[in-house]
């Protein structure tokens, strides 16, 4: 028996390692993703006033703080039992679109394009964003410009690119100024042009990755994403739709407050990342995927013209249900286009410059759930408070957590296909990392559970044989 460890997995957000156990013939026997950090926000926010939660939980992540801000603010809206003003809802959604654009740009251009442009087997020392920058300056410039545009949208609305405090329980704390709206609108044509030429480029190179497409998490699973009443893609609002591997809707329009009827949470050994599963199937078979690929698999359409054109081509080309996780990249680009188009529609809404932007109230409910689509998938913030509004319990289900079981299965599939333990090459291991990157996981976002992680200590002999073990479930 031989064990290969990929530590750390690079070009992801947060920290993780992968262990691959080989048998005596050098074939893959077992794999596991280990998320090696714990953040603990669920526990240490207990006792804090509920209205501090958006600012506190935004600190979970430097990449998608806006997602946590919005999910948290929505949970607080529920505790206050308010319906926020129309203008505030529109503004929050624009902020969210800016977040999608910058986050998707980061994932595609900065983190995954080195694999796609330089090759899975290229020199690992140059297979990074700096290598892309050297060899493909036009694409690097596009990536930088697109991410910058998304960040400028966030900064224009919320005054800060990272950890803005503009989103508050009940709405937002400042209206949109016409000059900011005009500035964002002026930048949209170029941003859309960048995404469209990137899509054209990416579709042109897909054929070079047929083996990866066939083995990168290309296995049946369920899919989950938010849709509106008509079944169209929703990022800020809507209910959860679950589809099975064949594309049949198995649950639809699940409201935030009802998520626990459908989603269970399990813990895995040797990892701080909890593993949600579809409850009626149970653990561990209730695997579902979330995020860009899942969203395009569950939605009927995007709802904006250019993105819908791409959505149609995506499904015509790859099928009604697209199973390969390699296509997260493709779906991510389509969503970036949707985010830009949606932003444009919202900025042109007559109500967008309204001055009524915040509802005020105290504690009117002792429990609140906020749910949105973060760039990586469904994000749920669930709080309970006492009469004074202090948090007594918090549960966070973060996008990467939903994908935990799917990522583990994908790693296993990739490892079994690509790894030959007797002739090990770096490119084989890079493919194992690349499937993790396809999901664009954010591990620093997703490890908050306290008291749920089972302790499992193994004492191994020099040959890897188990000598003793201690378990605390």
């Amino acid at each position: 028996m031989k064990k290969i460890t990929i530590d750390p997995v690079t070009r992801i957000e947060g920290h993780a390692k992968i262990s691959i156990q080989l048998d005596d013939n050098g074939q893959v026997a077992r794999t596991q993703l280990h998320v090696t950090q714990i953040r603990g926000f669920e526990k240490f926010t207990e006792g804090r006033p509920y209205y501090e939660m958006p600012s506190i939980t935004a600190r979970i992540c430097g990449i998608c703080p806006v997602s946590h801000l919005l999910a948290s603010a929505k949970a607080c809206d529920a505790i206050m039992s308010v319906r926020i003003p129309e203008t505030a809802a529109l503004l929050r959604e624009i902020l969210h679109c800016g977040q999608f654009v910058q986050s998707h740009a980061l994932s595609f251009f900065h983190l995954s394009s080195p694999d796609l442009l330089l090759g899975m087997d290229s020199d690992p020392a140059r297979r990074n964003v700096l290598g892309v920058l050297e060899k493909f300056p036009d694409i690097a410039r596009d990536g930088i410009a697109l991410r910058k545009f998304g960040q400028q949208v966030i900064e224009g609305l919320a005054k800060e690119r990272i950890h803005p405090s503009w989103t508050v329980p009940g709405g937002v704390n400042a209206p949109l100024e016409p000059a900011v709206r005009d500035r964002i609108l002026a930048g949209l044509p170029e941003a859309k042009a960048i995404v469209r030429r990137t899509l054209k480029f990416f579709k042109g190179v897909l054929d070079q990755f047929m083996e990866e497409i066939a083995h990168f998490g290309n296995a049946p699973s369920m899919y989950a994403g938010l849709v509106d009443a008509a079944g169209k893609l929703q990022l800020y609002d809507g209910g959860i739709r679950f589809k099975d591997a064949e594309g049949k809707i198995v649950a639809d329009h699940i409201a935030a407050r009802d998520y626990r009827n459908f989603i269970g949470e399990a813990a895995l050994s040797n990892s701080y990342l909890k593993a949600p599963y579809y409850k009626s199937i149970g653990f561990p078979d209730g695997v579902y995927r979330v995020g860009p690929l899942a969203r395009l698999n569950v939605a009927k359409s995007c709802g904006t013209p250019l993105a819908d054109g791409e959505f149609t081509e995506f499904h015509q080309r790859l099928g009604k249900i697209v199973p390969s996780s390699f296509h997260y990249h493709y779906a991510r680009l389509i969503e970036a286009l949707y985010g830009l188009e949606r932003m444009e529609a919202l900025l042109n809404d007559p109500a967008i410059l309204g001055r009524k932007i915040r509802a005020h109230a105290g504690v009117n409910s002792l429990e609140g759930v906020g749910m949105i689509e973060a760039p990586r998938g469904i994000l749920i913030h669930h709080y309970k408070v006492n009469e004074e509004g202090a948090i007594t319990w918090a549960n966070l289900i973060v996008a990467t957590g939903h994908n935990n079981l799917a990522i583990n299965r994908s790693i296993d599939q990739v490892a079994r296909h690509f790894i030959d333990g007797k002739h090990l090459k770096e490119g084989m291991l890079n493919r194992v990392s690349a499937i993790v990157r396809a999901y664009d996981p954010c591990f620093s976002c997703s490890t908050h559970a306290s008291g749920q992680v089972p302790l499992h200590i193994q004492l191994l002999g020099p040959e890897g044989s188990l000598l003793d073990e201690l378990r605390s479930e």
């Binding site: 900065h110 020199d123 700096l130 690097a140 930088i144 960040q151």
Partner: protein, 183 residues
Amino acid sequence: MRKMDSEECTANSRKAAQGAAAHSTIQCPLPTALVIGYGNPLRSDDGFGWHAGRRLGRELAGHDVEVITCHQLTPELAERLSQSQCAVFIDADAQGNPGDIHCRAVRPQVAASSTFTHLCTPSGLLASAERLYGHSPQAVVITVSAQSFALGESLSPVVSAALPKVVDQVRQWLRVASASQLK
């Protein structure tokens, strides 16, 4: 926090100090300049770049100087650098005696091989600016040796004492850079 390996620019600073007015007000126009203060402001002295950046932002208001504070250097900064005539990177240093100030000129240099995308260096960023946008500014890195990287938002007394000196040094260097740009 980064450790730089470029040449010392102490001589430049000395010249600058000699040429500078005794008071700290900038007398001549500055070139289009970029100041980047970086580090973790929640890790005591590692936040030195933020403290210096904020102070410079206040003191240089009205001049053609942009001040950016950030946790780490990222590829996006290449574009901003390419639009500047001169640039100052301000960081904390884990080496040296606490409170020591070091100023080094830094030139574009393609980063050494790295598996880690998160690791951008000033010289690497300057190289990116040149490669992607056709220009990189004259630049220096000013570091202050830290005493503490413990959790906290305040600077240690010895590092705090270096703050006004660094602010002056930045201003003086910008004056020298300005003069050389005008030639």
